[in-house]
Structures are given as C-alpha cells and as structure tokens.
C-alpha cells in the first residue's frame, strides 16, 4: 500500500492531528488572521504532559525494516525509528505543521533576525545549536557535524532520498562550535543534484529543511567513503554515536525486524531549560517491532503485545475497534489522494519522439476548463469518504489540505457535489447530450481512460465509484492500471505519468509542510520534456496566473505576504482545475492505554519526532 504514493519529500508524510483533536486544531487555525505577526503564526502550541521515568514500551509496524539509514531511506518503517528516537533533527513539526525547535535554540525566522534577505538572489539562514549538546558517546555535537550532514545530503554517492531545497545553499559557514550560516544563493548545474543553473537562492520554504538535517556524526563517518555508507555497520547494524533520546542496543532487519532501544545517557546535555525536549528520555527501554503482516500486528495491538501500532488505514478501523479497550486514533495530513488530468496530449505512442509535446493526441481535458470543473463537481467526494475511507478522510475543498496552517484558505467554500451544475456547465461548453445519455462535441465522444496503480483493491474501488459518478454527466470512462513502479517512474525511464501516457490518473501525493511543495506540480516550466526530464508537472498545467502566484510564493520570505499569495493561488487553482484532491488520507493508530504522550505529529515527522516525550503511564 505504501508504495503507491508519490513522495514529494524525503520523509513520507503521514498524518496530522489526532482525530479527537482535529476539530480543536481547526478552530485554532481558523482564528489565524493575516494581521498576526510572523513568529506568532509559526509558533508551535505543542505541549506534552510531563512524563514519569521508567518502564518499557513497544511500538510496532507491519512492513519490513531493512536498514536504519536516516539519510537515504524512503521507507516509512525506517524513518519511524530513525527520525526522533535515534537521531534528532534541527527542528521537527507539530500537528499544525509548525516547527518545534530540537537541536536548535530557535527556529530561524525574519523576526528573530536569523533569516536575512541580502538581495534578490541571496539570503542567509543562521542555524544556532543549543550549547553543550553531546553525541551518545559523550563527544560534542557541533556546527561542524551539521555542515558535514548537509554536505552528505548533497553528495550523490550517499544517495540521499531527497536533495530538494539543499540545492539552494551556495555555501555553509561555521561561525563557532554552535553557529552555522547557510548562505543561500545562485548555484551551477550539478551542485547538489541541480539539473540546470539556479539563478536565485531565495528559498522561502527553507523551514522544511530542518527536519531533513538529522545530524550524523562527522567523527564516525568522515573516514568512510560515502559510497560505502549504505552498507556500513553504522547504518545497517548499530549506529554509534547518535543524537536522539534513545540509542540502538540491538537491531535485527527484515520482515520481522526488531529494534531494541535504550536511553541515550547524554541526551539531556545542553538541553536543560529548553521549552521542548528539555529532559532526559523517560523510558528504560523502547522496542520497535515489525510484525510482517497487518493481521498479526492488529492481533498484537489488541492483545497488549504492543502499546502502539503505527501504519494502519481506515479499512482497519473495524478490526481494531472490536473488543479492545485501547484507543484507535486517526489523523489526516499532507497525504492527499487526488485526480490528475492530463492537460496536454496523451503520449502513448510517442516513445520514438521522446514524448515530445507536439506528439500524441489531445486529451478531452486539454483546453477545456469547463469540462474539468464539471468532472470535479460530479465527483462524489462525500460518498467516497464515508464508503471507502471509513468516514474519517477529509474531502478536500482546495488543493491544500485543511491542516496546512497558516496557508490553507479557511474561507474556501466547502465542496458539495452538484450534478445539475456540472451538466449545465457541459451544455454550455458544447458537449451535447446523445439519446443514450452520453455526450459528444464535434463528433467526439466524452470518454477517457483513468489510470492508477494496479493490484490495489482500494484504488480499484475508488475508480469504480468515480466512473459511476461521471456516468451521471454522460462521460464514458474506462480503466487502464499499471504496476506502481512503472506508473510513477521518471521521464527517462518512460514512467506513465511523467511522460504523459495517460488521460487521467488517480494517486496520492505526500507533501512537505509548505505550500511551495505543490508548486512543482503546477508551474509550467516544470513540464517534463527530454530537455527537462526531472520536471514534475505531470499534469502539464499551464496557467500564467498560477505560475506567477506560485513563483512569487517561493521567492517571498515574509509570511503574511505568502499567506495572501497562496490564498489567491487556491482560488485560481480551483478555477483552472488541473488537479483536484479527493480526500486527505487518514492514518490510523492503535494506542494502548498506558502509552503516554503519543502525538501523531504529521507530515515528515511520521509520528515519532516527539519520542523523547513518550512515557509509560503508571510506571514508577
């Protein structure tokens, strides 16, 4: 299931906000008004309970863990133990996607002067580490380690899962043992994976970089060739030293992997008095256990074999809830299932032409905005949510998820299915109704093919539901599904979406906690071609207004201006209608009664960023 997502971020985004808390959070961000100061709109309200020391907790997943490589792995199961428990990041994110400082004293913003715009092409971001931080072996954790980690992320031999954003850093300057300055500026092609020259280093979504810098120790790794890191003992067996609250005592990889974690004796060094994570880890022992299959994981949750079960979905809710006294909580986040329409030509027969845009046959959606709007209006997002997502997904109102504060437009109208309006749009658009209920325009039938990942019953059911929805507006829709690898593959490898060999696709994207994460899906310069194979505007969206708004959004550092830009972008996107979200995919967790401070921080935190605060209720 997890392999059916296109990940926009090195850390697969999972979820945000515990179910019961979701409405509270919404109310809170609903109150955000543009008049707020910059820092107020990104201040985290995360406030864990004070824990008691001692005891053991077990948390679990069902998919295999092969290694502990925090830099290269895109497997959620690896990140769930690597990010948070074993390695600390510069900062994490809370349920509202607001940063929580971890290794740093403060999250850099323009307000606190740690982000400075030099000119139109340059900016500086200061990373200020807490002073006195130590690795688990007692050696000092310094700004040099941070610099080393960023260099590693940019080194192709390391194979980091994402270099997004780091390619804007022109140089790093170590001021002293706790201070590092990232000089953002123009970069040449080839630097940190850039495929073309970068003319401006201004990078307003810089906040998303903090969680990717899970600092690795220079002393332990610098004498090892980067290409050997993936098979080194440090990343595959027993990482020592580490920076997180827990350290690995024992790790067995595979489909029934087990990671035994014990407290890091030096974790509290330099942290005392900090607002977040300012204490030694509470637990005596923390075990991360892989069950190999979901049924036994659920059985494990219900029997008390595990205190917390991660990585469950809406379909599992009934199985968990029956006859169990723990809590099934769920959270919606930055993982969005959506419909992607090809706005250019279907390139199915254009391999020889290297999928040039001039080749292929135009899809029905090309240059037909009214049709695209009608398609969205006719889709029954509510029925999909209640029937296929257990009623806990969130039908989407704009292209941004409702939890992406402060950017989500809370005043956007709630989506309501309206077949009458959809039909009248089509009438107006020249799609005339035939006797058999289908529609045609200029002798061309209203028909298209929908594609998704094959072998996935959930997606197949979604397709069927939508096809029957669209029958109501006279559309004849058939399916053609592909193995996930082929479906999501890159342009050079002939990937179905990347090369445009489709009419309409159905899949989920997992986004970083910043609206800029959506930009590359829509900006016209990102349309993939032989010259720009890594372009990710697979829908071939081409809207000058949207181009302008999204580009400005990336280059504007001031948060209030950004909020206003992205609100306009949401309105424009809804009108242009290239991609539309179906629902915010919920993540489901089974939480035992004695698990303290489980906080499914969403997004890139995979719910484990706050592992330092986990404690066992009733332990003495």
């Amino acid at each position: 299931m997890e392999e059916s997502i296109r990940r926009w971020w090195s850390r697969p985004t999972v979820a945000i906000g515990v179910g019961a808390m979701a409405s509270v959070l919404l109310a809170a961000c609903g109150g955000t008004n543009p008049g707020n100061t910059t820092s107020a709109s990104i201040n985290s309200s995360y406030s864990p309970a004070k824990g008691t020391t001692g005891g053991q907790l077990v948390y679990s997943d069902w998919e295999p863990v092969q290694d502990l490589n925090v830099l290269t792995s895109s497997a959620q199961t690896t990140l769930q133990v690597a990010v948070g428990p074993i390695w600390s990041a510069l900062w994490g994110f809370d349920a509202q996607n607001k940063p929580i400082p971890d290794l740093v004293t403060d999250v850099p913003t323009t307000d606190n002067g740690m982000v400075k715009k030099i000119d139109d092409k340059h900016m500086d971001v200061t990373i200020k580490l807490k002073s006195g931080l130590k690795w688990s072996d007692g050696s000092a954790l310094t700004a040099n380690d941070v610099k080393f980690t960023v260099d590693a992320i940019c080194n192709p031999d390391v194979g980091a899962s994402s270099q997004l954003g780091f390619d804007h850093i022109a140089s790093q300057e170590v001021k002293d043992s706790t201070t590092l300055i990232w000089h953002f500026g123009p970069n040449k092609s080839g630097t940190c994976g850039l495929s073309s020259d970068l003319t401006s280093g201004i990078y307003s979504p810089y906040l998303i970089l903090g969680l990717s810098v899970t600092v690795v120790p220079q002393a332990a790794l610098s004498n090892l060739a980067p290409k050997n890191w993936a098979t080194s003992d440090y990343f595959t067996k027993k990482p020592t030293p580490t920076s997180g609250p827990y350290m690995v005592q024992d790790f067995t990889p595979g489909p029934s992997a087990i990671v035994t974690l014990v407290p890091n004796p030096n974790y509290a060094a330099g942290r005392s008095g900090a607002k977040f994570f300012g204490h030694a880890p509470y637990l005596q022992k923390l075990t991360y256990k892989i069950y190999g299959d979901k049924s036994s994981q659920i059985a494990g949750i219900k029997s008390g074999d595990t205190d917390l079960g991660l990585d469950l979905i809406a379909k599992d809710l009934p199985s968990i809830q029956s006859g169990w006294n723990g809590k099934a909580v769920y959270a919606n986040g930055l993982l969005n299932e959506g419909i992607y329409m090809n706005l250019s030509n279907n390139e199915s027969a254009c391999k020889a032409q290297q999928y040039a845009e001039t080749c292929g046959t135009p899809t029905v959606f090309k240059d037909d905005k009214l049709l695209r709007q009608a398609v969205q209006l006719a889709s029954d997002l509510d029925a999909m949510n209640t029937q296929l997502v257990g009623g806990i997904g969130k039908p989407m109102n704009t292209f941004l998820p409702s939890t992406l504060s402060p950017y989500y437009d809370t005043s956007a109208p709630k989506f309501v299915r309206n077949v009458t309006k959809a039909n009248s749009l089509l009438d107006q658009d020249g799609w005339t109704k035939n006797a058999d209920g289908t529609r045609s325009k200029n002798g061309k039938k209203l028909a298209w093919v929908i594609s998704t990942t094959s072998g996935n019953p959930q997606r197949a059911a979604e397709e069927e539901l939508l096809i029957s929805n669209w029958k109501d507006i006279g559309a004849t829709v058939t399916t053609k599904n592909w193995p996930a690898g082929q479906f999501f593959d890159g342009f050079t490898n002939g990937g179905i979406n990347a090369t445009g060999q489709y009419d309409m696709s159905l899949y989920a994207n997992s986004f970083a906690p910043d609206p800029d994460s959506w930009a590359s899906l829509a900006i016209s310069s990102q349309i993939p071609t032989a010259a720009n194979p890594s372009g990710s505007n697979w829908d071939r969206m081409r809207d000058p207004k949207l181009d302008d708004l999204l580009t400005k959004g990336e280059n504007t550092i001031d948060i209030n201006s950004r909020i206003s830009l992205y609100k306009q972008a949401q309105t424009e996107w809804a009108d242009y209608m290239g991609y539309f979200g179906l629902y915010e995919r919920p993540d489901v967790f089974g939480v035992g009664n004695n698990f303290g401070n489980f906080y499914p921080t969403a997004n890139t935190c995979v719910s484990t960023c706050n592992a330092a605060d986990w404690y066992k209720k009733g332990a003495s």
Partner: protein, 335 residues
Amino acid sequence: MVGFVGRRLLQSIPTLLLISLLLFFGMQAVPGGPLSAFAFRPGMSQAARQAIIHQWGLDQPIYVQYLQWAKSMVTGNWQFSFFMHRSVREVIFSRLPATVILMVTAYVIQQVIALPAGIIAALKRYSFFDQALTFFSYVGYSMPTFWLGLMLLLIFAVFVPIFPVAGIINVRLSGAPFLTSDYNAWFGQNPIAGILDIMVHIVLPATTIAIVGIAGDSRFMRSSMLDAIHQDYVRTARAKGLSERVVVLKHALRNALLPVVTNIAIELPLLFSGAVVTEAIFSWPGMGQLFFQALEAFDYPLLMGILSVSAILIVLFNLLADIAYAYIDPRISYA
C-alpha cells in the same frame, strides 16, 4: 551408479545455464526494472540516481552483468541484494530454514495420514471408508491451496481463535525474531517452549499444504496397494496359508510402499509450490514470502538467487528420484 550420477549431474549443467540465461535476460524486459524503486522519491536528483546505477553495476553491458552474476553464483556470495543491503546468499539462507520446517512438517502430516488411509481404503475396497476417502481426495485435490488457507484462517483464527493468524513464532515470548542470535540463545534455554510455540504457529499452514497432499497421496497409496495385492507373490503367500495379517504387512505392503517412497522427489515441486502459496497467506517468513517481496521491489539479484536455488533444488531431487528408482527397481538399468 557413480557414472550414472556423474553423467546426470553433467547433463543438468546446461539446463541450469539455460535457465539462468532465460531468467536473466527475461528480467531485462520488465518495464522500469529495479530503477523504478526510485520512482517514489521524486526529490532524488539525477546525479544521485546515476551514482546508484553505477554502484549496482547497471551501467555495464548486459552480458557483462550476466557474467558477473554467474561468477558470483559459483564463487561468491550471490551478489548483493539491492534493497536489503546484505548478500543474497545470506538473505536466502536466513529464510530457507522456515520454508524447510514448513515443508517437512507438512510432508510428515501428509504421509502419516495419507499412507494408512490409502492402505485401509485398498484393503476395504468399496467400503464406506473407501468411498469417503475417494470423495475427500477429489475435493481436496480440487481446492486452491491459498483459498483453503484463507478458510482455515477464517475458521480457526477468527471465528474460533485457537491458532495465531500469522508468523512462525510469538516474538513476545522469545523477545527476538526467529533465528536471530538472541532468539537462538533463548531457544537454547527454553527448547520446549520454543518448539511448542513453533508448533502452535505451524498447525494451520502445514495443515493447508497437507490436506491437498493427502488428497493425492492417499489415492496413490491406494492404487499402489491394490496393485500389490493382485500380484502373484501375494496370491502365492496366501495360498501357502499365511495369515492375512502377514500377507498384507510383510508381502503386499512392503512392495506397495516402494513407489510411494520414491515419490517424494516428484512431490517436491508440488510441496514447494504449496509452501510458496501458504507463506503468502500466513506471513510465514520463508522463501515464498521473500520471493513476493523481491518481486514487489524488483530486486534483480535476489529474484535471480531465489529462482536459481529453487531450480537447483528441483534438479537435485529429480536426480535423487532417478537414483532411487534405479536402486529399488531392478528392471531399470542405468549402466
């Protein structure tokens, strides 16, 4: 005999070579190939991608890749798995025991039930028991193994939850996953608890495989026994006035068992297929489960390793079968 074995071994080399060539080049035809694993990381740069392609040796000409693979199969550690960061040999050998335990257990259950059932059915031909067994074997033989497994799960793990749903051991009991050093140490101290734990877990998957096997084997035993009873020497033994018990046990049964015993080699592929299917249903951490995981990730070296090992095993067992036949059946001469 030695010459025969040697010749057969030599003959199997081209077969195995042909298999490996077919598989290796066949896999190149899979769209996307192992690189499609990176499809899920759009944030990864082309340069990083190139670095990995180079690390995996995928930038070499195909024939060079093949030769390197063949060399490592013969002399090395069967190459490195792309996604498990360990040598394929290590991965496969860590999974083989679970499959072997499952196959052996299933086979034992199968024979313990099928042989007596077949013998009784033959001796009491057309009795109620015989008819019932015939009916059972037809139905059992017609059942898809995976569906039978699902039905057993439904009945004995969901409706009447007396057996675990999946896995080979209860990790909570041992504190460590199967065959890790911690597990082995624990097993050394608590052998009885350890064996009982595996037994509880193996009941459903082994039964699944065995039921289908019993269906075939009991009928084979029955016809073999019927054959034996009608032989001249049995009639002679009866005519000599030996008791029916002696006739049946000493003369007929002994001869009837011979083909049944040699049958094991022919049954191996069936048993292996059964194990592959069952492992997929019961999350049994063996070769079958490994295969489907490797297929999902498209881990070339691992797929090649698994397929090669199963091919070698089957070739070996076919050879064993031939030797066994030659050994017990004097009519066959392999001079």
